[in-house]
Amino acid sequence: MIIPGLRSLLFAAVFAVACDAGAQVIDWNATLAKARGQTVNWNAWAGDEKTNAFIAWVGDEVNRRHGVKINHVKLKDTAEAVTRVVAEKAAGRNADGTVDLMWINGPNFLAMKQQGLLFGPFATALPNFRYVDTTNRQSNVVDFTVPVDGYESPWRTAQIVFVYDSKRIAAPPRSVPELLEWSRRNPGRVTHPNVRNFLGSTFLKQALYELAADPAVLQQPATDANFEAVTAPMWAWYDALKPLLWRGGRQFPENGPAQRQLLNDGEIDMMISFNPSEAAVSIASGLLPDTVRTFVFSKGTIGNTSFVGIPYNAANKEGAMVVADFLLEPATQAVAQDFRQMGNFSVLDLAKLSPGDRKRFDDLPRSAALPTNAELGRVLLEPHPSWMTRIAATWEQRYTK
């Protein structure tokens, strides 16, 4: 037990010395050598088949190239992996942990970073990190206002879009107040996922962004002093909207896919999504009618980045870093962005790529349901996680009886 523990301790110590606020150095060849033969337990939410297939493909590729195997530990909720690391810490297993790599962002990242449950910093030292868009896509370096500091590595982006059935809606609402007007004319035809689900609270955050007097305060933690005043207009809007929602706002789909099922069943006419390719991907896999299209609010929508992180006690840190680096490769990112594969917009800055790599992105298939970058409009930064936590708690206070 002592030897591996000591090894990872030394490993961490080497990093701590070598890493000076973002300027990390990894002996990449040594990492590749150590990684060979490792099996990386990648804990990732598995509710999306396309993502599962992508992860399986990544596993085949890194095994072929670097001799690193991936075991996709399928989660219903990312917090299950956080729970596991906490349980391991509770049991005193500070090395040889069972979670090597986890799909993480936002509140889970904040919780793990605060509790010292993450290994790092490692991300900025990955060879392919040089292609990452760190200027236009702020969410790649600031995760829900929390500085990433190299404790997680980006792999896919997300931005709020709305998917609607063009057969039923001619002109979709383009702002938060317009959504309320639209619902007055079409009661019971829109909903949002449960507020305990990230997509549900994001629906409210998006409204908060547009309705708050000064959205800049959302980049600071919410306080007892300002929360009520800042959110008051949002709650007033929601009080008016809630009875006009599907099931009179008394029931909500548990998560995004459950909401998509409602759209497919014709129970609702539009839905919120965090994936700009959702409409195109879902048409391709027969999960939505081919009449669905995508729109965003004209003042912009919240966007964020999904990361992979490595727990402090991971047994296969080298293999995990090799996988994290592979995910950043331009060719990998192009596969990820193909809506026939996974359909997630890239975290890379296309301007930083070689012409050959850029062509991979230009050659990706198009679809009428797929928005262009221009159509996606402005990307708004995620508010501090405390807003989300408080909104969810307040929502329960106000509407749970």
Binding site: A46, L75, A79, T83, Q251, E267, T400
Partner: protein, 579 residues
Amino acid sequence: MDDAHRRDMGAAIHEIGGGRWLGAAPPLTVAAFVVPIAAGLAGTLLPAFGYLPAIGSARLSLEPWRLLAEYPGLRSSIVLTLTTGVAATLLSLLLAVGFCAQVSGRPWAQRASAALAPLLATPHSALAIGVAFLLLPSGWIVRALSPWLTGWTLPPDLATVGDPRGIALVVGLVLKEVPYLILMISGALNQVPSAPQIAVARALGYNRIAAWLKVVLPQVYPQIRLPVYAVLAFSLSVVDVALILGPGNPPTLAVLAVRWFSDADIHFYFPAAAAATLLGGLVLVAIAAWHGGEQLVAAWGRRWLAVGRRDGLANRLTAGAGAAAIASFAFAALALAGLALWSFATQWRFPAAWPDGLDLANWARRLDGLARPAAITLAIGAAATIIALILVIACLENESRRPRPVGRAALWLLYLPLLVPQVAFLFGAQVLLIRFSADGLFASVVWAHLIFVLPYLFLSLADPWRALDPRYARTAACLGASPARVFFRVKLPLLLKPVLLACAVAFAVSAGQYLPTLFAGNGRVATLTTEAVTLAAGADRRVIGAYALVQALLPMLVWLAAVLVPWFLYARRRGIGRA
């Protein structure tokens, strides 16, 4: 042969045979599940009182309870949990009794019960998803009637699933628990000479149903009391069915606890542990109240018997309940048929009553992903069943070699894993496994399954085993056969059919486990059930349908094997294998 003689002979056999290790079987069996449950309960109770050093809280406090009390929906959640749990148990018992009262004594009764096997084998979550598709306003029933009858071109905005009162949840539970209770009643009926008693009662002018209710039921109920309590405990603490069919705001207490256990903010552990503890307390209170209710019903029942009316409301009620039971089987079959159809559908949108097209594309895509979890499910189920079988047979054999009535206490212990809510001890058990670096191992998952497989196997096998005429074994012993020879050449062949059926029940239990697999396997051991529940989050009914079918099919095949093997082996010895 009097008791003293029998004891002597038992002792003698005990000395001759390899009986010494047999004596270790009962404590070993109890230890296999009492230890993890006790450790798990401690691991939940401590955080419920604020003690979880891993996240920096090493002091006992009542803070978790304050947080729990602050949850605005707590009252509604408790009321919902109690009403759905008690209603599901009452209805299931009523329907099961009604069904048994009607079919008992009929020549096809045995086959009717056997036909329920597929339903017993289907995991709760799979059936719940099928039920949801039937009941939804955009579900199959409304589709079949729209728009030609209802005029609906869009699904109506009605809360038929996830309704705040939990009616859909009760329906989903009843569909699964009725067959289980019928199986338990059939087992108990083997201990009651019901046929001659009913004949006497009918000669006195009672009709078939009244005779069964007044003569047989009072003898059967004490034997199914524990299974009824298990149904009550399960209905109060079920997670997967409540997630699919129950309301979400507020949800039942068990769902609330699981939701908090997996919250992004790890400090939600504390109220989660408190909620799990509260749920454990509610289960205890509910069982105590049910027990009290039994006394009242018994007191009233004695008077009812004494009055001696030959007809009455009870007869009609029971007949109605029997019919409702049969309707519930049809409904469950329809739910499974809907899922099966989905797994072959290309597209199937509201209000089409039938999919746009059927093909094998979905299955072709799934096959790869299905093979491995299916193999793992089979391996875990086989291992857990075999270990449980050896322990249970050792216990029963030990009991029959030194005859001493099994105390009620022992039976209660056996039911412990079924009475304590899973959420109340599985997190604690996970910490225990990690401490011994045993998490994520195949063996640990087998052990976790064993906790739930053992009691079911014991309960299925104990009655037929104890009912075997002891004179067979004595005759063989008198002819000079050693206890081992008696066991292998006489008892086992005679009891082969119940042994195999008990194994089939045990395998089905193993195949359906979700939380234990997740916690003990650390998410690294993927069975059909964990895959199906994870994919259920993706809400593609074609995928869910395929997994649910395979999930149900595997235990059904085991069941079929359990029925066919004795049939082939004993094709030419009709008397045997009927035990």
